[in-house]
Symmetry: C2
Subunit: 361 residues, 2 copies
């Protein structure tokens, strides 16, 4: 640990404070961070020189004393490019502000195979960077599959990838910072930074498959083999269930994934629909109960088609969880839909860039 590491930490502390609390004076920053005004002035000067922070004009004086010069992140001066490769039909890309607002979109049809996918993704990213009309802080990518800490996609059956270094490929093609992570892990970051989630939260993402992203004490969990969150093919219950594409019986994905669930709903009468949704929700609760017990998460967030998840399914999940865990410890566990909608992975990808480049989350 060298002094410059401490300096970097303090730089991030200033950026983090501005990110969450908005424009304020140097003296405000001093009070918020506990560093002295002198040190803050020095740090802010450095951050202004680097272009991350800008002076925003004087605060209209409200009391005695010299009026304050407000400083803030240069929010208008930067953009982030986010990509979501988890869609069934399209690769979706967006230009985002530092606040996670989407100010531009573009998408291309899904490709398969290493070469074709990379070509499509690079082209999508290049177009978005060109349209940003501002310096791009970096490119964040949320992709299905197991992704290691350096953005190497270890396995991604849907995209036909195994051991492919997407991060380096994109960085070399675009000459910008690139961060690649699993889509559900990106999503939980969006929920944490923009969705007001607490420090211990599990996000369950239901789509073609079922994945999850986990934050413990505000830190993303990666797992021993970078496979944390890969919960789709865990068997749930001890009484059989639907057959899964993986060959097993009763996988969470066979109960809950959108294709399986919509197929069962389509085959059922209108009266049976609620029962089917409640069954799926109960299965999710059964799978989550031991996780809530071991991890003591306070919040479970669902992401996916609202018409499927937000209703009988979510209700059955929370009821099952309450019934299967000890109220004394985990009474407060909340289950809710995300409010980030379909853009959750894009916004999570932006958080990855904010976190990687500014140390902000």
């Amino acid at each position: 640990m060298l002094p410059e590491h401490a300096r970097g930490h303090n730089r991030s502390l200033v950026l983090q404070t501005l990110f969450h609390q908005g424009a304020m004076s140097r003296a405000d920053l001093s009070r918020e961070t506990g560093l002295t005004r002198v040190t803050i002035s020095d740090l802010v000067g450095e951050l202004i020189a680097d272009g991350f922070v800008a002076e925003m004009g004087m605060r209209e004086a409200s009391g005695p004393g010299k009026p304050a010069m407000l400083v803030d992140l240069d929010r208008d001066g930067h953009r982030i490019v986010g990509l979501d490769l988890s869609g069934a039909d399209e690769f979706i890309g967006a230009i985002l502000t530092l606040d996670g607002d989407i100010v531009g979109r573009k998408s291309v049809a899904v490709a398969t195979g290493e070469g074709a996918v990379v070509e499509a993704v690079v082209s999508l990213a290049r177009d978005l960077v060109a349209d940003a009309h501002a310096p791009v802080l970096g490119i964040g990518v949320g992709t299905p599959g197991v992704v290691d800490e350096h953005g190497v996609i270890l396995t991604a059956p849907n995209l036909g990838w195994a051991g492919f270094d997407l991060e380096t490929a994109l960085r070399e093609a675009l000459d910008l910072p690139v961060l690649v992570a699993n889509d559900a892990n990106a999503a939980v970051l969006a929920e944490y930074t923009f969705g007001g989630a607490g420090d211990d939260v599990l996000l369950v993402k239901v789509g073609r498959g079922v994945g999850s992203g986990l934050l413990a004490s505000g830190q993303p969990m990666r797992g021993a083999h970078f496979a944390a969150g890969e919960v789709g093919h865990v068997t749930v219950g001890t009484d059989g269930g639907p057959v899964c594409v993986c060959g097993k019986v009763g996988c969470l994905e066979a109960w809950l994934a959108v294709p399986a669930l919509t197929a069962r709903l389509a085959a059922a009468s209108a009266d049976d629909r609620e029962g089917i949704l409640r069954d799926a929700g109960e299965r999710l609760g059964i799978a989550l109960a031991p996780i809530v017990g071991v991890l003591d998460v306070s919040e479970i967030v669902l992401s996916g088609p609202q018409e499927l998840l937000d209703g009988p399914l979510a209700e059955a999940t929370v009821e099952t969880l309450r019934a299967r865990t000890l109220a004394q410890f985990h009474d407060g566990v909340r289950v809710r839909m995300t409010e980030q909608g379909q853009d959750i992975v894009l916004r999570g990808a932006a958080v990855m860039v904010l976190s990687g480049q500014l140390g902000v989350s």
Copy 2:
């Protein structure tokens, strides 16, 4: 982040290196840590002045150059006191070396109620400190119940405690650093530091109840309400099961805790015993499968009566886990007994002190 924090980090880095690799020269430390020889000399001088490190004599010269003066943690000059309050009949205490070796023991009968327990524990700790015949680095305590980050026992039904600040009570009575944590959380630290466990490990402790301790990326998980690991009263399976003391049906504890399991074994014929153990192991596997899926732990360690756990039960657990998770991601999950035996909580309590006082683990 101030410069002195960096200094503290580097002090711990030196101690950590010596702790794990044993005596070495200052130049060796420089190579291991990446800090310069000058800085290491300065740090070592400070640590010697503080009594944590001692010079151990010259290394017999093996090559050219000036012979090296070996330095090491002053292992003989310090002791740690560990307490294990999780026993059914006794509070167990021990004097330990910095290497976790037990060099003295003492125990007292279990008391109940705040006042009586504190009196018994303080007296036990005081006797051990007096017998240590060396400066005691601190006192670590592993206790059943939910314990917060400051050593306040939020709930401990077995001891009749709720919201009791054991850490402060002991610190004021004994005037030594005190660290209190849940017994299973202490146990997993022992397994990590002394048992060669990896960075992502779950320890399941089977005794009167069933608890667990979890390390993710080498960091202990606490949970949103400090209740991480409280897995005993999670319902497992969807086909009923034994009635639990908590009133629910099919709790993991009703399947697996020692009193319930021995009672079922005693009531069964010799031929049925293996089936009962396998059933219990299967239930454990069912409960652990979603946890392995979400957390991607590489290692599950069992702690408790060897004659119950180490055999058909553990075998059934690992078979169930393999059957219920996707081999592609979690093939390598190992299930094994701890080799720390009955002293695992005591040794874990020592790790808490090492970690808290020296930054070593």
